[in-house]
């Protein structure tokens, strides 16, 4: 029943001369939440960015190894980058709405991919905002500038915006670390709902968050994945001593 969505094999990544990932293997399954944990600077963001090739934007960044999405290597020459990013969406640590209306934020993605009809766009905007559990809060002022709402709301707008292009996978790099506890709780709840329909990968610094909401967890240290397992297993019965040290707060 478990459907493998993403398969990372022996992935090495360099920023210039600095090797940030030393041959990482990782499996991500459909309709699960996979959490990345680990101390700062260990390569979590670096790995999550390779999954939709956002690292292409970084100058002097070079990779070796493979990342397969549904069995196809996303680094092969045949891959159309924009199509890949449509299928693998991303939400960032800092909410980054466009300085446009809420409506235009959500409609940007669908418009990018060729949807022009007003009624279709209206439908997508409403659906995405509902999915991101923010429809009721913003439905009466869709024409307001997205920067004028609270940080927590902005982040849910960003999630809605990512959902509007109907991705298969949603990457989230510390989506709640810039938010207050109430907004955080809302987004956690939302993410757990979304896994019904999406495959979710989430970086978090918050260990409770990882254990609360994720199905599977990968523990990173200095550019390696030390251990990956079902979340309950990893948190209650880690196989590696370093994992144990980290989750019990002895370092990091």
């Amino acid at each position: 029943m478990l459907n493998q969505k993403i398969k990372v094999r022996d992935l090495k990544l360099w920023y210039g001369k600095f090797e940030a990932l030393h041959g990482v293997d990782l499996d991500i399954y459909e309709n699960e939440i996979t959490a990345f944990i680990g101390p700062s600077g260990c390569g979590k963001s670096t790995l999550i960015k390779t999954l939709n090739r956002m690292n292409d934007l970084v100058e002097n960044c070079r990779i070796e190894g493979s990342v397969e999405l549904d069995g196809k290597n996303i680094y092969s020459k045949k891959v159309e980058l924009n199509e890949l990013r449509k299928r693998v969406g991303m939400v960032f640590q800092q909410p980054n709405p466009f300085p446009k209306s809420i409506y235009d934020n959500i409609a940007f993605g669908p418009r990018t991919h060729g949807i022009k009809k007003k009624n279709e766009l209206d439908e997508i905007v409403e659906k995405s905002l509902r999915q991101a559990a923010i429809w009721d809060e913003v439905k009466d002022h869709l024409d307001r500038n997205a920067l004028s709402i609270s940080g927590g709301q902005q982040q849910r707008i960003c999630i809605a915006r990512a959902l509007a292009v109907e991705p298969d996978v949603l990457l989230m790099d510390e989506p709640t670390s810039a938010l207050d506890p109430i907004s955080t709780a809302k987004i956690e709840e939302l993410v757990m709902e979304l896994k019904e329909d999406y495959t979710i990968v989430m970086v978090t610094h918050n260990m409770q968050q990882a254990s609360r909401i994720s199905d599977r967890t990968a523990f990173f240290l200095n550019g390696d994945i030390i251990e990956q397992d079902m979340t309950r297993q990893l948190f209650t019965n880690p196989k590696e001593e370093q994992t144990d040290n980290y989750i019990s707060g002895r370092f990091g």
Partner: protein
């Protein structure tokens, strides 16, 4: 004690600077406004009525022509430098250095070059086109640098958001980045406009000094600044020179007000 003295000097300097400016503006206005007669705006220039109308129209033509060429080139250069090229690429450095160098070249050198290249070598004669092309090169650095600054100020996050949604470079640039950077770019274009209106040395030997409205791109003409220079040199038309100075000042005031307006919008958009 010394710092008290310094403070006194600081205040005195400020009073001098702004007093001088006020004096200049008021002096020109007082001496010029009363000579702004309707006949000075007559359609045709004649030796008995040195109308500034042809010069006014020529100024607008030079400004329009220059912006038409310089804006796309300058803005596209900014696009290339910020969003396309690798910052460490030696070509980018060379372009940046060439831009800075162009910015520092005095207008008389532009005038010489324009004369040697456009007027003589390309045989354009003294003409609108020779003037426009010369001033175009002069205006490039202002537009390039302000575009660059405006694009850099928009920052990475909104670009990332756009790319992550599967938008390509062009779409990201035109639909996401450009709207945010627009006020900054516009203020560069406005600044360039001010320079063009005030330019004399670069136009004297390229556009020439013909008194009537140029009938084609290859005809000579004179801008307001050139007109004022010639009037004041001839010595017989001092009053008209004052009046022209008033019009030039009004131009500068309007241009400055516009750029303040735009930068206010910039400040708002940034929040």
């Amino acid at each position: 004690m010394i710092s008290k003295l310094m403070k006194g000097l600081v205040y005195a300097s400020a009073v001098f600077t702004f007093g001088m400016l006020a004096y200049l503006v008021i002096y020109i206005l007082i001496n010029g406004v009363r000579f702004l007669t309707p006949s000075l705006f007559a359609w045709n220039y004649s030796t008995s009525n040195v109308s500034m109308m042809p010069a006014l129209m020529t100024t607008l033509m030079v400004v329009a022509g220059t912006l038409l060429i310089a804006t796309p080139i300058g803005v596209f250069t900014g696009f290339y430098l910020v969003d396309y090229a690798n910052r460490k690429n030696p070509v980018v450095k060379a372009i940046g250095m060439a831009t800075d160098t162009l910015a520092g070249i005095p207008s008389i050198i532009y005038g010489l070059f324009g004369m040697l290249f456009f007027v003589i070598f390309l045989e354009f004669q003294f003409s609108l086109i020779a003037g426009i092309l010369t001033v175009t090169i002069m205006s490039l650095p202002v537009i390039i640098r302000s575009t660059e600054e405006a694009l850099l100020a928009t920052g990475m996050p909104i670009r990332q958001a756009s790319y992550a949604l599967g938008a390509g470079k062009l779409r990201t640039l035109f639909k996401v980045v450009l709207p945010v950077a627009m006020p900054g770019i516009l203020s560069g274009v406005i600044l360039a406009t001010g320079r063009i209106v005030g330019e004399t040395a670069a136009l004297m030997f390229t556009l020439g000094t013909a008194t009537n409205l140029p009938g084609s791109l290859f005809a000579s003409g004179r801008t307001l600044s050139l007109h004022m220079y010639i009037l004041s040199q001839e010595g017989r038309h001092v009053n008209e020179a004052y009046a022209t100075a008033v019009v030039l000042l009004v131009f500068v005031l309007v241009i400055n007000a516009l750029s303040t307006l735009v930068s206010k919008r910039l400040a708002k958009g940034g929040k």
